[in-house]
Symmetry: C2
């Protein structure tokens, strides 16, 4: 098992969907990534920041799941990052109602000394300069650095983002972001172009349509599980990334064949995440449930040509 | 091998895409279905109508591929159905520029006497009453009746369409049409609702995102092959349906497991169809190419949990 560094937000979310709305609940990219990765009992550390208003029970919960929280900085006189959003009826689009950066505005990530030799680094969605600062603190090149990012940084910090992209092995973005980053409509052409920017592997997330993994001239298509209802999509992409990174940290195999499996695990975990508001489903997820769902994913696409 | 009846338009299309435009070329649902099904050397008959302006060489070409054209009616003093459309840059949406029904307006389909015992019936996109009239001419219930339709008939002839839907075993529609037909956003819920209308199997086509096959509580997800470019999407859905129906007519196995394979063959054939304008790619397609692409589809989704 490899050590895993997880950088990203630990936050409060207030969410409104057609199914209901929440007050401030636990959220943040690093939270969802950590919860997903902890399914694999990895040796993971969360690098993030919260304010004095952040409940200690949330931190304890993360620690109980085996995550190192020594570099989850608590700024006692600051407030935790807060995001509020409202999903439209189709659940595929949402409006951001509130974004309060708070303690995140001055966040200087510090990688714990004992994790500077981590082999797997998961850069959750954050300002590219924060992501870069994490890479720079590593003692040696990790076996695999995975970058999750979004269109917001393409619009506001493209030069910095390109510097991070140049240093990572895997990038995960959604289809529209891949098109925006490359100016190419075809995802096959876009993925090839992104490979020339740095990453050896390109993961393009297509929400309810699944995810594509590109490597050299090969393509793997991981379906999304068709669901009766999506209750709250918040954190699904982070959960996907966390499952992907956690599976790789557990197995220490960075081949194309194993990355396929990591994507299936990420997809399966994301399919749970959307079943309840916020982190609720992920906190209560049992290993047996994950195993059953992996079998469902297998059955979903399996066909036998030889019969 | 079962006999296969194919009903649908045989037409002229004029197509404009970002890659170019064509004059009136060979098109029509039954044409694309027939070309796809003929890859399986089925005993198929095309039930359709054209005008005196329709080149005999096109009819000869269909006949050369083993398709019975004795009930492809030629109205000597009439004009062939003509459709003209222009695709937008994303290739997922198009504007219809011209629709001239011509001889199709008074079309009364006649099933050849020797095909009234056909075991497989493929109802290509046409007015539901025409589709119904074909079903009514069969001597006995076919093993499998497959319906392709579209939102146009939901808007203009819903009552008639519901009568056809009640009589078929398989329906193939796209995701938006499934939502329109049922008022349900979730495709899982929509498919269940469509099953109560008649069909035992529901195929939901999602274009570049693949297709879903629903049967009882089971789901199969067939990917679409990610393509560098889509040259002309015209006829892709018909080609998909034709490959599906042709494979079933060849194998005479109507189990869920075999329908999965039929969908993969349909998807593979559709992935060729879009590579050139109109029917060009399908007319020149070699069996070896199809076999290679089926292997590509297999590799696209295959992963090994046991390793």
């Amino acid at each position: 098992m490899s050590k895993l560094i997880i950088v990203g937000t630990v936050a409060f979310d207030a969410i409104e969907t057609p199914f209901g709305k929440t007050d401030k609940i636990l959220g943040g990219a690093a939270t969802f990534i950590g919860l997903a990765a902890s399914q694999f009992e990895v040796d993971g550390a969360i690098v993030s920041v919260v304010g004095g208003d952040f409940p200690k029970e949330y931190i304890d919960m993360l620690e109980d799941r085996g995550l190192d929280v020594s570099c989850l900085e608590v700024v006692e006189n600051g407030k935790t990052f807060f995001w509020s959003g409202k999903y439209h009826n189709d659940m595929n689009t949402r409006d951001t109602l509130i974004t309060e950066l708070n303690v995140l505005a001055d966040f200087k990530p510090v990688v714990p000394e004992s994790y500077k030799d981590a082999k797997v680094v998961m850069l959750g969605n954050l300002h590219p300069l924060v992501q870069l600062r994490v890479i720079e603190q590593m003692n040696e090149k990790p076996d695999i650095v995975i970058l999750d990012t979004m269109n917001f940084w393409m619009d506001s910090a493209l030069d910095d983002l390109m510097k991070v992209i140049a240093k990572v092995d895997v990038i995960t973005i959604n289809d529209e972001e891949a098109r925006q980053l490359t100016g190419e409509y075809s995802l096959v052409v876009a993925a090839k172009k992104i490979m020339t920017m740095g990453p050896e592997f390109v993961v393009i997330k297509k929400g309810e349509h699944g995810a594509l993994l590109f490597f050299e001239d090969e393509i793997f298509y991981a379906p999304a599980l068709p669901l009766k209802e999506v209750f709250d999509p918040t954190g699904a992409g982070d959960t996907f990334a966390g499952g992907f990174a956690g599976y790789l940290a557990k197995t220490e195999d960075y081949s194309f064949g194993n990355l396929k499996k990591a994507i299936i695990y990420g997809s399966a975990l994301a399919s749970f995440s959307v079943e309840k508001f916020g982190t609720e489903r992920m906190i209560n997820l049992e290993k047996e449930e994950l195993y059953e769902r992996i079998v469902q994913f297998k059955n979903l696409t399996q066909f036998d040509l030889s019969e």
